[in-house]
């Protein structure tokens, strides 16, 4: 609250008398509004705190949901595949946050390397995050960062940065990536995909039945319901 007495002199104040500075109540009202707006912005900006945000499952490896769930959905996917991205951030995200918590569905992500070395590196990084129980957060992060195929964007440094953002154990993640600790698991998934006749991504297996291509959430839930009916 400034006193007029101490205010600077008006610039070039000749002629008509100067208008007074803005009144204190107006300044206080504007200032309080600014503080409230920022508080609201921070509320919405804080990760996972926005209204309706449901956290992704946490747990070891690339599966979520109980092992004895009546329906097991497997997805073969490549982190650089655009349709896999659409699946991951849409229907798969909903499955993980809406259906898996009910205990009716177990969901497993399997690696299918379609686009070479960069896909392989991303798959290994995600598996390394899974070793620290954060596979799904890292999975979403990779797909959110999608830049196209083999753009060179997903360098080891950047993959490490994502791990840092998630608060993973940096040293363990780096060792996992540099020493290729996840390589065998990724290659085993890829080999399995070939044995099971997976040619493109995403490919789903719902209680063992192959479903090729991107599916909507409604399509997936319908297939899951059918599989659950068959499992009874």
């Amino acid at each position: 609250m400034a006193k007029k007495k101490g205010l600077p002199k008006p610039p070039g104040g000749k002629g008509a008398p100067p208008r007074s500075a803005v009144s204190a109540p107006v300044l206080i009202a504007v200032g309080v509004t600014a503080v409230l707006v920022v508080a609201l912005l921070i509320w919405f900006a804080w990760p996972g705190r926005a209204p309706g945000a449901v956290p992704l499952p946490r747990g070891a490896g690339q599966s979520a949901g109980p092992e004895n769930a009546p329906v097991h959905v497997e997805e073969f996917s490549d982190f650089q595949c655009p349709y896999c991205r659409d699946a991951a951030l849409g229907p798969v995200h909903r499955l993980l946050t809406e259906l898996v918590p009910t205990g009716q569905v177990r969901f497993t992500f399997r690696h299918k390397i379609l686009f070479g070395a960069e896909s392989q590196r991303m798959a290994e990084a995600a598996t390394c995050a899974g070793a620290q129980n954060r596979f799904w957060d890292y999975h979403d992060r990779l797909f959110r960062e999608w830049r196209g195929e083999n753009t060179g964007y997903f360098t080891a440094q950047r993959l490490q940065g994502f791990a840092q953002d998630l608060g993973l154990d940096q040293a363990a993640f780096q060792a996992c990536l540099e020493e290729g600790q996840a390589r065998a698991a990724v290659l085993a998934d890829n080999e399995d995909s070939q044995k099971r006749g997976v040619r493109g991504t995403p490919t789903f297996f719902i209680n063992g039945k192959m479903v090729q291509g991107l599916q909507s959430y409604d399509q997936l839930t319908r297939l899951i319901s059918e599989a659950a009916g068959g499992a009874r």
Binding site: L7, P11, P18, A21, V35, V38, L41, G48, G161, D165
Partner: protein, 140 residues
């Protein structure tokens, strides 16, 4: 001349925010001193968005608004004083949010993006100048 300081600062800030927005859209690496990794990490982090909208876009929108208000305030037309108060309020919002983002950079991400620092400094300068103008009686 001094009354055009606000539009000039807004233009400068708009340049920074537009660059970061463009890099967000195109997916290209952000050019930073000492390598782009830190800037990329900051701008790709979950903290760099508000309800799904990238902070860079919000920054660009904010500077556009500050530019418009700054020009109106400098024009001396009817409503100039109201525009100046609005510009002050908006820039105060910008400064407080920039302070939050800087806190996130320093203590959560532990990465500092020089472009974000530049934007925070410009926003602080805009707020300081507009505060001075708001508190200064103007000629009729």
């Amino acid at each position: 001349m001094r009354r055009w300081v606000l539009p000039a600062l807004a233009l400068l800030g708009l340049g920074v925010a537009a660059y970061l927005s463009w890099q967000k859209l195109s997916g290209g690496p952000i050019i930073c001193l000492g390598g782009s990794a830190a800037c990329d990490r900051v701008n790709a982090s979950p903290y760099a968005q508000v309800a799904g909208v990238p902070v860079a876009y919000l920054g660009a929108a904010m500077y556009l608004g500050l530019l418009a208000l700054g020009v109106l305030a400098a024009s001396g037309r009817p409503g100039a004083r109201t525009a100046l108060v609005a510009a002050w309020g908006a820039s105060l919002t910008g400064v407080l949010f920039s302070a939050y983002l800087t806190f996130v950079e320093l203590f959560i991400l532990r990465d500092v993006c020089q472009w974000c620092v530049a934007s925070a400094v410009i926003m602080a300068a805009y707020c300081a100048v507009s505060t001075w103008q708001v508190l200064t009686p103007q000629p009729a």
